[in-house]
């Protein structure tokens, strides 16, 4: 094992040197692809964020304006309302999806003789495009013909203005996001559940632990790494929430359900203000770096060592 050898700076043999060179050649396609689609665009993003660039006002040119557009962003109530909405979506849907996902995983972890209905039941929401999920839930929450309001009427309650009332629209969108994302969480947690040895539960049963004690003392601690992975993955995607609110309310009523991603998209693609949109995108990136660093710390392990 390389890790066991003392830290002597030994000279590389010719074979090792040629292997290392080959390794760099094999990494090259990945880095060329990343350079063309991420690194170069990000460099132009930062460049553009310091310049005025409005495609609808080409006569203005692209003068350097320094931090002006960042200041504009930080004092723009629309920026803050969409940031607040994004934060609310994260706060509600990330724990929501993990709790619902845990429930689904526990239900799916039964000894079924026929496995496919349960497995497909978990895979279908995962494989469905987000925007389709949004459209389907928009149909569920439709005022007159939607299944939700008709169920309310059937129970003798009043139908609700799901998609035109700001609070109800937020709730409806959160329900759609949680439905869509909890199945991925369930798949990850189910794999975690299946690694817990049966003998642990048998031993606990002999010691007289009831089901709830077994869940708290064995299942939850053993699932901690899987829950952590699910939380990080969910958070990364939740920061970028776009498709489902776009399909369900398009940010409305007013801007009440609009996310930061939707505001950036609107600023640049609809209003053609590339300079300001770039500054907003950089601000958003700073927020997501803080969130993703947790995941990177987790994965930063040496892949050439099999012992994990």
């Amino acid at each position: 094992m390389t890790s066991a050898t003392p830290v002597l700076k030994h000279r590389l043999t010719p074979l090792e040197r040629s292997e290392r060179r080959l390794g760099l050649v094999m990494l090259a396609p990945a880095f060329i692809l990343l350079a063309a689609t991420v690194i170069y665009p990000v460099a132009t993003l930062i460049w553009t964020s310091f310049r005025f660039q409005h495609l609808a006002q080409p006569w203005m040119g692209t003068p350097f304006v320094g931090l002006e557009q960042y200041w504009k962003g930080l004092t723009d109530p629309h920026f803050w309302s969409s940031t607040l909405n994004t934060a609310l979506y994260i706060l509600v849907t990330v724990p929501g999806a993990v709790i619902v996902g845990l429930g689904l995983a526990l239900l799916a972890n039964q000894p079924f003789r026929i496995k496919w209905p349960v497995r497909l039941g978990l895979l279908l929401p995962w494989a469905l495009p987000l925007v389709f999920a949004g459209l389907i839930f928009r149909w569920f929450f439709e005022f007159k013909q939607g299944i939700v309001n008709n169920a309310l009427i059937w129970f003798g309650l009043k139908p609700l203005n799901w998609l035109t009332d700001p609070t109800l629209a937020f709730i409806a969108i959160c329900i759609a996001i949680i439905w869509k994302s909890s199945s991925f969480v369930a798949l990850v947690l189910l794999a975690g559940l299946q690694t817990i040895p049966k003998s642990m539960y048998e031993a606990a049963e002999i010691d007289g632990a009831n089901k709830w004690q077994q869940f708290v003392e064995i299942t939850l601690p053993m699932l901690r790494p899987a829950i952590f992975v699910a939380l990080i993955f969910r958070t990364i995607t939740a920061i970028q929430t776009f498709d489902i609110p776009y399909a369900m309310t398009n940010g409305g009523p007013g801007n009440s359900t609009e996310t930061l991603a939707m505001y950036i998209h609107k600023t640049t693609i609809d209003f053609l203000d590339f300079g300001y949109g770039s500054a907003l995108a950089v601000l958003m990136f700073i927020v997501s770096v803080i969130a993703t660093s947790g995941y990177l710390r987790y994965t930063r392990r040496d892949p050439s060592k099999a012992g994990r």
């Binding site: 692809l33 063309a36 990000v42 497909l120 279908l124 494989a127 992975v229 950036i264 994965t299 892949p303």
Partner: protein, 276 residues
């Protein structure tokens, strides 16, 4: 009721809840797609379609060029999947076997760059693709989609490559194979399930993507399926039966795919998250 009977009932109930949660929205859309406009407007609503009709499905093909959307989606998803798996396999192999300095750090850098939030690169990517004349072409989506799935593909392939004993490759190289020859003749065939899993995940990611497709292919004829479906909504009205029929047409191929490859998808998803 005996205790084993009770246990069996609980198991049945659990299976029913999970399956219903996943299937009911799709089934509801299917029922809607078979109803006439008149039946849809009836209050209280009906659950099963009274006089099932396929008229909505004809409208799906008449109202929008959905076959073009499907062709665009298939082409973009397949080409980006091939590029993604090739690039990820080379990188994963180099990281696992080729004694690079600080492979863990290199992997982190690749993941960090590839996981850059899409919305942040959307603005400059639009400008880059416009300047390169690639807007409205498949390539505008293919390259970003290949990067989109690079993290999960690399992680899945690393997990598979680690399980292949190095002795097998060494034996092949003693027999006169080069490193690259050993990779393609020994490692790739042995980790075929892993390569396949990575490919399915990349395909589904590309098939589902919406934000880039919405922005980088503004022309109707270059729309992919997820964006194309939203075009069925009118200016003021929302034609639910036709929209539902379009959703059924769009969902069915993916349903078939995941039904066939469910084991591989589940193992790949969990490996990408857990094992790497």
């Amino acid at each position: 009721m005996t205790s084993s009977q009770k246990k069996r009932n609980i198991t049945w109930l659990a299976a029913l809840i999970v399956a219903a949660n996943g299937f009911i929205p799709a089934i509801w859309v299917l029922f809607t797609s078979l109803k006439t406009e008149g039946e849809l407007n009836r209050i209280p609503i009906t659950i099963f379609p009274n006089q099932p009709t396929l008229e909505n499905f004809t409208r799906v093909f008449v109202d929008q060029p959905i076959l073009v959307f499907i062709a665009n989606s298939v082409a973009v998803a397949i080409i980006s999947t091939v590029i993604c798996v090739l690039v990820s396999a080379l990188a994963a192999y180099a990281l696992v076997r080729l004694r690079l300095p600080a492979p863990g750090l290199i992997l982190s850098v690749i993941l960090a760059i590839a996981m850059f939030p899409l919305i942040s690169i959307l603005v400059p990517l639009f400008a880059v693709m416009r300047d390169a004349g690639l807007l409205n072409t498949w390539w505008a989506l293919i390259f970003p989609y290949a990067v989109l799935s690079m993290p999960v593909c690399t992680m899945v392939l690393i997990a598979f490559f680690q399980d292949i004993p190095a002795d097998l490759e060494n034996a092949a190289m003693i027999d006169g194979c080069t490193r690259v020859g050993a990779l393609f003749r020994v490692v790739v065939p042995l980790s075929a399930p892993g390569v396949f899993t990575a490919a399915i995940l990349a395909f589904v990611n590309a098939w589902d993507e919406f934000l880039l497709a919405l922005t980088l292919s503004p022309r109707v004829m270059s729309r992919t399926l997820p964006v194309g479906i939203t075009l069925y909504q009118g200016e003021f009205a929302f034609p639910w039966p036709i929209m539902s029929a379009a959703l059924v047409v769009a969902i069915t191929p993916v349903c078939v795919l995941i039904a066939i490859y469910q084991d591989k998808i589940v193992s790949g998803l969990t490996q990408g998250g857990m094992k790497g």
